[in-house]
Protein backbone atom coordinates (compact mmCIF):
# COMPACT_ATOMS: atom_id res chain seq x y z
CA UNK A 1 0.00 0.00 0.00
CA UNK A 2 2.70 2.41 1.06
CA UNK A 3 4.70 1.58 -2.09
CA UNK A 4 1.71 2.39 -4.27
CA UNK A 5 1.23 5.84 -2.81
CA UNK A 6 4.94 6.56 -3.17
CA UNK A 7 5.24 5.55 -6.80
CA UNK A 8 2.08 7.38 -7.80
CA UNK A 9 3.71 10.66 -6.87
CA UNK A 10 6.65 9.81 -9.15
CA UNK A 11 6.89 10.18 -12.90
CA UNK A 12 5.87 7.38 -15.22
CA UNK A 13 8.20 4.39 -14.74
CA UNK A 14 10.39 3.42 -17.68
CA UNK A 15 9.98 -0.28 -17.05
CA UNK A 16 6.92 -1.51 -15.21
CA UNK A 17 6.88 -5.11 -14.00
CA UNK A 18 3.50 -6.13 -12.60
CA UNK A 19 2.82 -9.44 -10.85
CA UNK A 20 5.02 -11.54 -13.08
CA UNK A 21 5.10 -15.31 -12.68
CA UNK A 22 7.61 -17.14 -14.81
CA UNK A 23 7.66 -20.88 -15.41
CA UNK A 24 10.06 -23.21 -17.16
CA UNK A 25 8.88 -26.41 -18.77
CA UNK A 26 11.35 -29.23 -18.50
CA UNK A 27 10.66 -32.66 -19.96
CA UNK A 28 9.38 -33.99 -16.66
CA UNK A 29 7.76 -31.04 -14.91
CA UNK A 30 7.02 -27.36 -14.76
CA UNK A 31 9.34 -25.27 -12.61
CA UNK A 32 8.22 -21.92 -11.27
CA UNK A 33 11.11 -19.48 -11.49
CA UNK A 34 9.43 -16.37 -10.05
CA UNK A 35 6.12 -15.81 -8.33
CA UNK A 36 4.18 -12.55 -8.76
CA UNK A 37 7.15 -10.22 -8.86
CA UNK A 38 6.48 -6.49 -9.20
CA UNK A 39 8.86 -3.58 -9.45
CA UNK A 40 9.34 -0.38 -11.39
CA UNK A 41 12.49 1.04 -12.94
CA UNK A 42 12.77 4.79 -13.55
CA UNK A 43 14.99 6.60 -16.05
CA UNK A 44 18.67 6.71 -15.12
CA UNK A 45 18.14 4.05 -12.47
CA UNK A 46 20.94 1.61 -11.80
CA UNK A 47 18.45 -1.01 -10.71
CA UNK A 48 19.91 -4.24 -9.32
CA UNK A 49 18.17 -7.60 -9.07
CA UNK A 50 19.92 -9.36 -6.22
CA UNK A 51 19.38 -12.85 -4.90
CA UNK A 52 20.93 -16.27 -4.42
CA UNK A 53 21.04 -18.72 -7.32
CA UNK A 54 17.62 -20.14 -8.03
CA UNK A 55 15.75 -16.91 -7.28
CA UNK A 56 14.87 -16.42 -10.93
CA UNK A 57 16.70 -13.13 -11.36
CA UNK A 58 18.22 -14.17 -14.67
CA UNK A 59 14.85 -15.49 -15.84
CA UNK A 60 13.32 -12.12 -14.95
CA UNK A 61 15.95 -10.34 -17.01
CA UNK A 62 15.44 -12.74 -19.95
CA UNK A 63 11.70 -12.08 -19.73
CA UNK A 64 12.29 -8.31 -19.77
CA UNK A 65 14.47 -8.90 -22.84
CA UNK A 66 11.55 -10.75 -24.41
CA UNK A 67 13.04 -14.24 -24.62
CA UNK A 68 10.58 -15.67 -22.11
CA UNK A 69 6.83 -15.12 -21.85
CA UNK A 70 5.31 -14.75 -18.37
CA UNK A 71 2.45 -17.09 -17.51
CA UNK A 72 0.96 -14.36 -15.34
CA UNK A 73 1.53 -10.60 -15.20
CA UNK A 74 2.94 -8.18 -17.74
CA UNK A 75 6.03 -6.16 -18.61
CA UNK A 76 5.62 -2.65 -19.91
CA UNK A 77 8.38 -0.50 -21.35
CA UNK A 78 7.26 3.13 -21.56
CA UNK A 79 3.69 1.90 -21.45
CA UNK A 80 4.14 -0.56 -24.35
CA UNK A 81 3.76 -4.22 -23.54
CA UNK A 82 6.88 -6.34 -24.07
CA UNK A 83 6.16 -9.31 -26.30
CA UNK A 84 9.41 -10.19 -28.07
CA UNK A 85 13.13 -9.38 -28.10
CA UNK A 86 14.06 -6.04 -29.56
CA UNK A 87 16.91 -3.55 -29.83
CA UNK A 88 15.25 -1.10 -27.43
CA UNK A 89 16.47 -3.42 -24.67
CA UNK A 90 20.10 -4.33 -25.33
CA UNK A 91 21.44 -7.32 -23.46
CA UNK A 92 24.94 -7.75 -22.08
CA UNK A 93 25.37 -11.44 -21.32
CA UNK A 94 27.67 -13.12 -18.86
CA UNK A 95 29.19 -15.36 -21.53
CA UNK A 96 32.31 -14.30 -23.35
CA UNK A 97 30.96 -15.89 -26.55
CA UNK A 98 28.34 -13.20 -27.04
CA UNK A 99 30.46 -11.34 -29.60
CA UNK A 100 30.15 -12.51 -33.20
CA UNK A 101 33.50 -14.23 -33.88
CA UNK A 102 33.36 -13.37 -37.58
CA UNK A 103 33.30 -9.63 -36.96
CA UNK A 104 36.01 -7.32 -35.65
CA UNK A 105 35.43 -5.21 -32.54
CA UNK A 106 34.31 -2.26 -34.65
CA UNK A 107 32.02 -4.41 -36.80
CA UNK A 108 30.54 -6.05 -33.73
CA UNK A 109 29.59 -2.66 -32.28
CA UNK A 110 28.38 -1.37 -35.67
CA UNK A 111 26.37 -4.43 -36.59
CA UNK A 112 23.23 -3.86 -34.46
CA UNK A 113 23.14 -0.22 -35.59
CA UNK A 114 23.14 -1.41 -39.20
CA UNK A 115 20.98 -4.49 -38.69
CA UNK A 116 18.20 -2.35 -37.20
CA UNK A 117 18.71 0.16 -40.05
CA UNK A 118 18.95 2.85 -37.43
CA UNK A 119 22.00 4.60 -38.84
CA UNK A 120 23.82 4.82 -42.14
CA UNK A 121 27.17 3.07 -42.39
CA UNK A 122 29.28 6.19 -41.90
CA UNK A 123 27.21 7.37 -38.92
CA UNK A 124 27.23 3.90 -37.41
CA UNK A 125 31.00 3.78 -37.76
CA UNK A 126 31.42 7.15 -36.05
CA UNK A 127 29.14 6.22 -33.18
CA UNK A 128 30.69 2.79 -32.74
CA UNK A 129 34.16 4.34 -32.66
CA UNK A 130 33.02 6.85 -30.03
CA UNK A 131 31.72 4.13 -27.72
CA UNK A 132 34.72 1.88 -28.31
CA UNK A 133 36.84 4.82 -27.25
CA UNK A 134 34.66 5.30 -24.17
CA UNK A 135 35.44 1.76 -23.02
CA UNK A 136 39.13 2.28 -23.79
CA UNK A 137 39.51 -0.15 -26.69
CA UNK A 138 40.24 2.29 -29.53
CA UNK A 139 43.49 0.51 -30.42
CA UNK A 140 41.68 -2.85 -30.67
CA UNK A 141 38.93 -1.71 -33.04
CA UNK A 142 40.18 -3.98 -35.84
CA UNK A 143 40.94 -6.99 -33.68
CA UNK A 144 38.84 -10.16 -33.79
CA UNK A 145 37.14 -11.21 -30.52
CA UNK A 146 39.21 -14.38 -30.03
CA UNK A 147 42.34 -12.24 -29.63
CA UNK A 148 40.85 -10.29 -26.68
CA UNK A 149 40.87 -11.08 -22.96
CA UNK A 150 37.64 -11.77 -21.09
CA UNK A 151 37.45 -8.27 -19.65
CA UNK A 152 38.02 -6.71 -23.07
CA UNK A 153 35.26 -8.85 -24.60
CA UNK A 154 32.85 -7.67 -21.92
CA UNK A 155 33.88 -4.07 -22.60
CA UNK A 156 33.06 -4.57 -26.28
CA UNK A 157 29.68 -6.06 -25.32
CA UNK A 158 28.98 -3.04 -23.11
CA UNK A 159 30.06 -0.65 -25.87
CA UNK A 160 27.80 -2.52 -28.29
CA UNK A 161 24.87 -2.23 -25.89
CA UNK A 162 25.47 1.43 -25.18
CA UNK A 163 26.07 2.40 -28.82
CA UNK A 164 22.49 1.41 -29.55
CA UNK A 165 21.43 3.95 -26.92
CA UNK A 166 18.61 1.62 -25.83
CA UNK A 167 15.77 2.56 -23.50
CA UNK A 168 17.29 0.23 -20.97
CA UNK A 169 20.50 -1.77 -20.81
CA UNK A 170 20.04 -5.30 -19.47
CA UNK A 171 23.10 -6.82 -17.83
CA UNK A 172 23.06 -10.46 -16.80
CA UNK A 173 25.93 -10.89 -14.33
CA UNK A 174 28.28 -9.37 -16.91
CA UNK A 175 31.32 -9.43 -14.63
CA UNK A 176 30.72 -12.81 -12.96
CA UNK A 177 33.15 -14.67 -15.21
CA UNK A 178 35.96 -12.15 -14.66
CA UNK A 179 38.78 -12.30 -12.14
CA UNK A 180 38.31 -10.20 -9.02
CA UNK A 181 40.68 -7.37 -10.01
CA UNK A 182 39.26 -6.99 -13.51
CA UNK A 183 35.77 -7.11 -12.02
CA UNK A 184 36.50 -4.13 -9.76
CA UNK A 185 37.92 -2.14 -12.66
CA UNK A 186 34.91 -2.96 -14.79
CA UNK A 187 32.51 -1.90 -12.01
CA UNK A 188 34.30 1.44 -11.72
CA UNK A 189 34.23 1.86 -15.49
CA UNK A 190 30.52 1.13 -15.66
CA UNK A 191 29.86 3.80 -13.03
CA UNK A 192 32.07 6.25 -14.89
CA UNK A 193 30.16 5.53 -18.12
CA UNK A 194 26.93 6.07 -16.24
CA UNK A 195 28.22 9.44 -15.01
CA UNK A 196 28.88 10.30 -18.66
CA UNK A 197 25.59 9.33 -20.24
CA UNK A 198 23.13 8.51 -17.43
CA UNK A 199 21.70 5.44 -19.13
CA UNK A 200 19.16 3.21 -17.41
CA UNK A 201 20.44 -0.21 -16.48
CA UNK A 202 18.84 -3.32 -15.05
CA UNK A 203 21.67 -5.32 -13.52
CA UNK A 204 21.52 -8.89 -12.26
CA UNK A 205 24.05 -10.11 -9.71
CA UNK A 206 24.39 -12.60 -6.88
CA UNK A 207 27.05 -10.53 -5.12
CA UNK A 208 25.78 -8.29 -2.28
CA UNK A 209 28.93 -6.24 -2.56
CA UNK A 210 28.51 -5.66 -6.29
CA UNK A 211 24.84 -4.78 -5.84
CA UNK A 212 25.65 -2.05 -3.30
CA UNK A 213 28.48 -0.72 -5.45
CA UNK A 214 26.70 -0.71 -8.82
CA UNK A 215 23.11 -0.01 -7.85
CA UNK A 216 21.26 3.02 -6.59
CA UNK A 217 18.23 0.79 -6.03
CA UNK A 218 18.25 -2.88 -5.06
CA UNK A 219 15.50 -5.48 -5.38
CA UNK A 220 16.02 -8.50 -3.14
CA UNK A 221 14.59 -11.80 -4.33
CA UNK A 222 14.09 -14.90 -2.23
CA UNK A 223 14.83 -18.29 -3.80
CA UNK A 224 12.61 -21.15 -5.09
CA UNK A 225 10.54 -19.54 -6.52
CA UNK A 226 11.75 -15.96 -6.66
CA UNK A 227 9.61 -13.49 -4.75
CA UNK A 228 10.32 -9.90 -3.83
CA UNK A 229 11.82 -9.85 -0.34
CA UNK A 230 12.65 -6.16 -0.23
CA UNK A 231 13.40 -3.13 -2.37
CA UNK A 232 15.81 -0.60 -0.99
CA UNK A 233 18.13 2.28 -1.75
CA UNK A 234 21.81 1.50 -1.97
CA UNK A 235 24.45 3.65 -0.26
CA UNK A 236 25.41 6.97 -1.82
CA UNK A 237 28.51 6.51 -3.95
CA UNK A 238 30.35 9.56 -2.67
CA UNK A 239 30.67 8.42 0.95
CA UNK A 240 32.23 4.99 1.26
CA UNK A 241 31.38 4.77 4.95
CA UNK A 242 32.81 1.41 6.04
CA UNK A 243 30.41 0.99 8.96
CA UNK A 244 27.34 1.79 6.86
CA UNK A 245 28.56 -0.57 4.13
CA UNK A 246 29.03 -3.38 6.59
CA UNK A 247 25.65 -2.64 8.15
CA UNK A 248 23.84 -2.73 4.81
CA UNK A 249 25.65 -5.89 3.74
CA UNK A 250 24.62 -7.60 6.97
CA UNK A 251 21.07 -6.32 6.67
CA UNK A 252 20.75 -7.69 3.12
CA UNK A 253 22.33 -10.96 4.16
CA UNK A 254 19.84 -11.31 7.02
CA UNK A 255 16.93 -10.50 4.74
CA UNK A 256 17.99 -13.13 2.23
CA UNK A 257 19.07 -15.93 4.52
CA UNK A 258 17.30 -15.40 7.87
Amino acid sequence: MKDGSETSSLAEPLLDVRGVTLQYKTAARIVTATHRVSFAVYPADRFVLLGPSGCGKSSLLKAVAGYLDPVEGEFHLRGRRIREPGPDRMMVFQEFDQLLPWKTVLDNVMFPLLATRRLKRSEARARAQAYIEKVGLATFADAYPHTLSGGMKQRVAIARGMAMEPEILLMDEPFAALDALTRRTMQDELLRLWDDTRFTVLFVTHSINEAIKIGNRILLLSPHPGQVRAEMDSLPRESPDAAALLGLERHIHDLLFA
Binding site: Q98, L100, P101, W102, P112, A115, Y144, P145
Partner: protein
Protein backbone atom coordinates in the same frame (compact mmCIF):
# COMPACT_ATOMS: atom_id res chain seq x y z
CA UNK B 1 57.24 -37.64 14.58
CA UNK B 2 56.36 -34.18 15.55
CA UNK B 3 52.85 -34.23 17.03
CA UNK B 4 52.50 -30.45 16.87
CA UNK B 5 50.78 -28.99 13.83
CA UNK B 6 53.34 -27.30 11.68
CA UNK B 7 52.68 -23.67 10.99
CA UNK B 8 54.38 -21.79 8.23
CA UNK B 9 57.18 -19.53 9.39
CA UNK B 10 56.50 -15.85 9.89
CA UNK B 11 57.98 -13.76 7.14
CA UNK B 12 58.33 -10.04 6.78
CA UNK B 13 56.48 -8.14 4.07
CA UNK B 14 58.87 -7.11 1.38
CA UNK B 15 58.61 -4.82 -1.60
CA UNK B 16 60.70 -4.96 -4.73
CA UNK B 17 61.40 -2.39 -7.37
CA UNK B 18 60.35 -3.43 -10.84
CA UNK B 19 63.06 -3.16 -13.45
CA UNK B 20 61.99 -1.32 -16.57
CA UNK B 21 62.85 -3.21 -19.75
CA UNK B 22 63.70 -1.57 -23.01
CA UNK B 23 63.37 -3.25 -26.38
CA UNK B 24 67.12 -3.69 -26.58
CA UNK B 25 67.10 -5.82 -23.42
CA UNK B 26 64.62 -8.31 -24.80
CA UNK B 27 66.49 -11.26 -26.15
CA UNK B 28 65.36 -12.43 -29.55
CA UNK B 29 66.68 -15.53 -31.23
CA UNK B 30 66.12 -15.78 -34.97
CA UNK B 31 64.60 -19.01 -36.23
CA UNK B 32 67.07 -20.88 -38.48
CA UNK B 33 66.33 -20.69 -42.21
CA UNK B 34 65.69 -24.42 -42.69
CA UNK B 35 63.21 -24.43 -39.80
CA UNK B 36 61.37 -21.48 -41.30
CA UNK B 37 61.12 -23.31 -44.62
CA UNK B 38 60.02 -26.56 -42.96
CA UNK B 39 57.31 -24.61 -41.08
CA UNK B 40 55.60 -23.89 -44.41
CA UNK B 41 52.83 -26.43 -44.90
CA UNK B 42 53.21 -26.62 -48.66
CA UNK B 43 56.93 -27.46 -48.36
CA UNK B 44 56.19 -30.44 -46.12
CA UNK B 45 53.44 -31.60 -48.46
CA UNK B 46 55.65 -31.18 -51.52
CA UNK B 47 58.33 -33.35 -49.88
CA UNK B 48 55.70 -36.02 -49.23
CA UNK B 49 54.55 -35.89 -52.84
CA UNK B 50 58.09 -36.21 -54.17
CA UNK B 51 58.62 -39.17 -51.85
CA UNK B 52 55.44 -40.88 -53.09
CA UNK B 53 56.43 -40.28 -56.71
CA UNK B 54 59.87 -41.78 -56.02
CA UNK B 55 58.31 -44.91 -54.50
CA UNK B 56 55.98 -45.22 -57.51
CA UNK B 57 58.86 -44.90 -59.97
CA UNK B 58 61.01 -47.40 -58.10
CA UNK B 59 58.23 -50.00 -57.80
CA UNK B 60 57.17 -49.63 -61.45
CA UNK B 61 60.74 -50.12 -62.62
CA UNK B 62 61.10 -53.17 -60.42
CA UNK B 63 57.83 -54.57 -61.82
CA UNK B 64 58.78 -53.64 -65.40
CA UNK B 65 55.28 -54.15 -66.87
CA UNK B 66 53.90 -51.18 -68.79
CA UNK B 67 50.44 -52.71 -69.12
CA UNK B 68 49.90 -53.23 -65.42
CA UNK B 69 51.77 -50.38 -63.85
CA UNK B 70 53.57 -47.76 -65.93
CA UNK B 71 56.38 -45.77 -64.37
CA UNK B 72 55.91 -42.29 -62.99
CA UNK B 73 58.03 -40.82 -65.77
CA UNK B 74 55.95 -42.56 -68.48
CA UNK B 75 52.80 -41.26 -66.86
CA UNK B 76 54.21 -37.76 -66.79
CA UNK B 77 55.19 -38.09 -70.47
CA UNK B 78 51.67 -39.22 -71.38
CA UNK B 79 50.24 -36.43 -69.24
CA UNK B 80 52.44 -33.80 -70.92
CA UNK B 81 51.60 -35.13 -74.39
CA UNK B 82 47.86 -35.13 -73.70
CA UNK B 83 48.02 -31.65 -72.22
CA UNK B 84 50.02 -30.44 -75.19
CA UNK B 85 47.58 -31.79 -77.80
CA UNK B 86 44.70 -30.23 -75.88
CA UNK B 87 42.75 -33.43 -75.23
CA UNK B 88 43.22 -33.59 -71.49
CA UNK B 89 42.41 -29.90 -70.79
CA UNK B 90 39.25 -30.17 -72.90
CA UNK B 91 38.15 -33.32 -71.06
CA UNK B 92 38.95 -31.81 -67.68
CA UNK B 93 37.03 -28.68 -68.56
CA UNK B 94 34.01 -30.70 -69.64
CA UNK B 95 34.08 -32.61 -66.35
CA UNK B 96 34.54 -29.50 -64.24
CA UNK B 97 31.69 -27.70 -65.98
CA UNK B 98 29.20 -30.47 -65.23
CA UNK B 99 30.66 -30.87 -61.76
CA UNK B 100 30.20 -27.22 -60.85
CA UNK B 101 26.62 -27.22 -62.11
CA UNK B 102 25.70 -30.24 -60.01
CA UNK B 103 27.67 -29.06 -57.00
CA UNK B 104 26.17 -25.57 -56.96
CA UNK B 105 22.64 -26.88 -57.40
CA UNK B 106 23.16 -29.49 -54.68
CA UNK B 107 24.60 -26.99 -52.22
CA UNK B 108 21.80 -24.51 -52.92
CA UNK B 109 19.14 -27.16 -52.38
CA UNK B 110 20.89 -28.25 -49.19
CA UNK B 111 20.78 -24.66 -47.91
CA UNK B 112 17.06 -24.42 -48.61
CA UNK B 113 16.37 -27.72 -46.83
CA UNK B 114 18.53 -26.88 -43.78
CA UNK B 115 17.06 -23.40 -43.39
CA UNK B 116 13.61 -24.92 -43.57
CA UNK B 117 14.62 -27.56 -41.04
CA UNK B 118 15.94 -25.07 -38.50
CA UNK B 119 12.85 -22.87 -38.75
CA UNK B 120 9.94 -25.30 -38.84
CA UNK B 121 9.52 -28.58 -37.04
CA UNK B 122 8.03 -30.35 -40.05
CA UNK B 123 11.00 -29.16 -42.11
CA UNK B 124 13.26 -30.81 -39.56
CA UNK B 125 11.30 -34.05 -39.88
CA UNK B 126 11.46 -33.82 -43.66
CA UNK B 127 15.24 -33.35 -43.70
CA UNK B 128 15.85 -36.14 -41.20
CA UNK B 129 13.63 -38.58 -43.08
CA UNK B 130 15.02 -37.72 -46.50
CA UNK B 131 18.66 -37.90 -45.41
CA UNK B 132 18.23 -41.20 -43.60
CA UNK B 133 16.47 -42.64 -46.66
CA UNK B 134 18.54 -41.25 -49.49
CA UNK B 135 22.02 -40.55 -48.08
CA UNK B 136 23.03 -44.26 -48.03
CA UNK B 137 21.81 -44.70 -51.63
CA UNK B 138 24.84 -44.69 -53.99
CA UNK B 139 24.50 -42.05 -56.68
CA UNK B 140 25.53 -44.59 -59.31
CA UNK B 141 22.51 -46.70 -58.41
CA UNK B 142 20.33 -43.81 -59.58
CA UNK B 143 22.13 -43.57 -62.90
CA UNK B 144 19.94 -46.03 -64.89
CA UNK B 145 16.89 -44.13 -63.67
CA UNK B 146 18.49 -40.78 -64.49
CA UNK B 147 19.29 -41.98 -68.00
CA UNK B 148 15.66 -42.97 -68.45
CA UNK B 149 14.40 -39.62 -67.22
CA UNK B 150 16.93 -37.19 -68.62
CA UNK B 151 18.49 -39.16 -71.47
CA UNK B 152 22.14 -39.42 -72.47
CA UNK B 153 23.37 -35.98 -71.58
CA UNK B 154 24.51 -33.59 -68.92
CA UNK B 155 21.02 -33.59 -67.38
CA UNK B 156 21.38 -37.06 -65.93
CA UNK B 157 24.94 -36.31 -64.77
CA UNK B 158 23.76 -33.20 -62.95
CA UNK B 159 20.93 -35.20 -61.41
CA UNK B 160 23.21 -37.83 -59.87
CA UNK B 161 25.67 -35.11 -58.82
CA UNK B 162 22.94 -33.25 -56.93
CA UNK B 163 22.04 -36.48 -55.22
CA UNK B 164 25.63 -37.12 -54.17
CA UNK B 165 26.15 -33.56 -52.84
CA UNK B 166 22.78 -32.62 -51.37
CA UNK B 167 22.46 -34.96 -48.40
CA UNK B 168 25.95 -34.70 -46.98
CA UNK B 169 25.96 -30.89 -47.24
CA UNK B 170 22.47 -30.62 -45.74
CA UNK B 171 23.41 -32.97 -42.91
CA UNK B 172 26.49 -30.93 -41.98
CA UNK B 173 24.78 -27.59 -42.39
CA UNK B 174 21.86 -28.63 -40.23
CA UNK B 175 24.18 -30.00 -37.53
CA UNK B 176 26.07 -26.70 -37.68
CA UNK B 177 22.89 -24.64 -37.30
CA UNK B 178 21.86 -26.70 -34.31
CA UNK B 179 25.26 -26.24 -32.72
CA UNK B 180 25.11 -22.43 -32.72
CA UNK B 181 25.46 -21.23 -29.14
CA UNK B 182 22.24 -20.05 -27.47
CA UNK B 183 23.99 -16.78 -26.55
CA UNK B 184 24.68 -15.94 -30.19
CA UNK B 185 21.10 -16.82 -31.11
CA UNK B 186 19.81 -14.48 -28.42
CA UNK B 187 22.21 -11.77 -29.57
CA UNK B 188 20.81 -12.02 -33.09
CA UNK B 189 17.21 -11.86 -31.90
CA UNK B 190 18.13 -8.97 -29.60
CA UNK B 191 18.98 -7.00 -32.75
CA UNK B 192 15.49 -7.72 -34.02
CA UNK B 193 16.78 -10.05 -36.77
CA UNK B 194 14.37 -12.69 -38.00
CA UNK B 195 13.76 -14.99 -40.93
CA UNK B 196 16.32 -15.02 -43.72
CA UNK B 197 18.26 -12.04 -42.37
CA UNK B 198 18.75 -13.95 -39.11
CA UNK B 199 19.94 -17.02 -41.03
CA UNK B 200 22.32 -15.00 -43.20
CA UNK B 201 23.73 -12.73 -40.50
CA UNK B 202 23.94 -15.13 -37.56
CA UNK B 203 23.32 -18.81 -38.30
CA UNK B 204 25.43 -19.27 -41.43
CA UNK B 205 28.60 -17.53 -40.15
CA UNK B 206 28.25 -19.17 -36.72
CA UNK B 207 27.84 -22.61 -38.30
CA UNK B 208 30.53 -22.02 -40.91
CA UNK B 209 33.03 -24.67 -39.67
CA UNK B 210 30.40 -27.39 -40.13
CA UNK B 211 29.18 -25.93 -43.41
CA UNK B 212 32.72 -25.90 -44.74
CA UNK B 213 33.21 -29.55 -43.77
CA UNK B 214 29.99 -30.40 -45.56
CA UNK B 215 31.10 -28.55 -48.67
CA UNK B 216 34.48 -30.32 -48.67
CA UNK B 217 32.99 -33.78 -48.27
CA UNK B 218 30.35 -32.91 -50.84
CA UNK B 219 33.06 -31.86 -53.29
CA UNK B 220 34.84 -35.19 -52.93
CA UNK B 221 31.58 -37.12 -53.31
CA UNK B 222 30.75 -35.13 -56.43
CA UNK B 223 34.11 -35.95 -58.04
CA UNK B 224 33.80 -39.64 -57.33
CA UNK B 225 30.28 -39.77 -58.65
CA UNK B 226 31.13 -37.85 -61.79
CA UNK B 227 34.15 -39.96 -62.75
CA UNK B 228 32.26 -43.17 -62.01
CA UNK B 229 29.23 -42.03 -64.01
CA UNK B 230 31.39 -41.05 -66.97
CA UNK B 231 33.11 -44.42 -66.84
CA UNK B 232 29.79 -46.23 -66.86
CA UNK B 233 28.00 -44.47 -69.67
CA UNK B 234 30.89 -42.69 -71.22
CA UNK B 235 30.49 -39.96 -73.75
CA UNK B 236 27.57 -37.62 -73.36
CA UNK B 237 26.64 -34.83 -75.70
CA UNK B 238 29.74 -35.26 -77.88
CA UNK B 239 32.41 -34.09 -75.44
CA UNK B 240 33.27 -36.65 -72.78
CA UNK B 241 34.89 -35.83 -69.48
CA UNK B 242 37.89 -37.23 -67.63
CA UNK B 243 36.12 -40.48 -66.82
CA UNK B 244 35.49 -41.04 -70.51
CA UNK B 245 39.14 -40.22 -71.24
CA UNK B 246 40.23 -42.94 -68.80
CA UNK B 247 37.74 -45.44 -70.24
CA UNK B 248 38.75 -44.71 -73.83
CA UNK B 249 42.45 -45.11 -73.16
CA UNK B 250 41.91 -48.32 -71.25
CA UNK B 251 40.13 -49.76 -74.28
CA UNK B 252 43.10 -48.79 -76.44
CA UNK B 253 45.51 -50.21 -73.84
CA UNK B 254 47.16 -46.80 -73.51
CA UNK B 255 47.83 -47.48 -69.85
CA UNK B 256 50.17 -44.50 -69.25
CA UNK B 257 47.34 -42.28 -70.50
CA UNK B 258 44.91 -43.99 -68.12
CA UNK B 259 47.30 -43.08 -65.32
CA UNK B 260 47.61 -39.56 -66.71
CA UNK B 261 43.81 -39.27 -66.52
CA UNK B 262 43.82 -40.47 -62.92
CA UNK B 263 46.66 -38.06 -62.21
CA UNK B 264 44.59 -35.15 -63.53
CA UNK B 265 41.71 -36.09 -61.22
CA UNK B 266 44.17 -36.12 -58.32
CA UNK B 267 45.78 -32.83 -59.38
CA UNK B 268 42.45 -31.04 -59.66
CA UNK B 269 41.45 -32.42 -56.25
CA UNK B 270 44.70 -31.18 -54.70
CA UNK B 271 44.34 -27.77 -56.34
CA UNK B 272 40.78 -27.27 -55.15
CA UNK B 273 41.58 -28.44 -51.62
CA UNK B 274 44.72 -26.33 -51.27
CA UNK B 275 43.72 -23.23 -53.22
CA UNK B 276 39.96 -22.88 -52.86
CA UNK B 277 39.08 -24.50 -49.56
CA UNK B 278 42.31 -23.56 -47.79
CA UNK B 279 41.88 -19.91 -48.80
CA UNK B 280 38.23 -19.95 -47.75
CA UNK B 281 39.25 -21.43 -44.40
CA UNK B 282 41.99 -18.94 -43.66
CA UNK B 283 39.75 -16.02 -44.68
CA UNK B 284 36.87 -17.18 -42.48
CA UNK B 285 36.93 -19.71 -39.66
CA UNK B 286 40.64 -19.41 -38.89
CA UNK B 287 40.56 -15.64 -38.91
CA UNK B 288 37.52 -15.68 -36.61
CA UNK B 289 39.23 -18.05 -34.19
CA UNK B 290 36.62 -20.78 -34.67
CA UNK B 291 39.19 -23.26 -35.96
CA UNK B 292 42.88 -23.46 -35.23
Amino acid sequence: MNTMLTTPPARPNVEHQVVAFTDADLIERPIPAWERIWNQGWVRKAVLLVLLAAIWEAYARYLDDDLLFPTFSDTIDAFAANVANGVLPARALASIKVLLMGYAAGAALATVLSVLAINVRIGNDLLETLTSMLNPLPAIALLPLALLWFGLGNGSLVFVLIHSVLWVVALNMHAGFRGVSPTLRMVGRNYGLRGLRYVAAILIPAAFPSILTGLKVGWAFAWRTLIAAELVFGVSSGAGGLGWFIFENKNQLEIPSVFAGLLSVILIGLAVENLVFRTLESRTVRRWGMQH
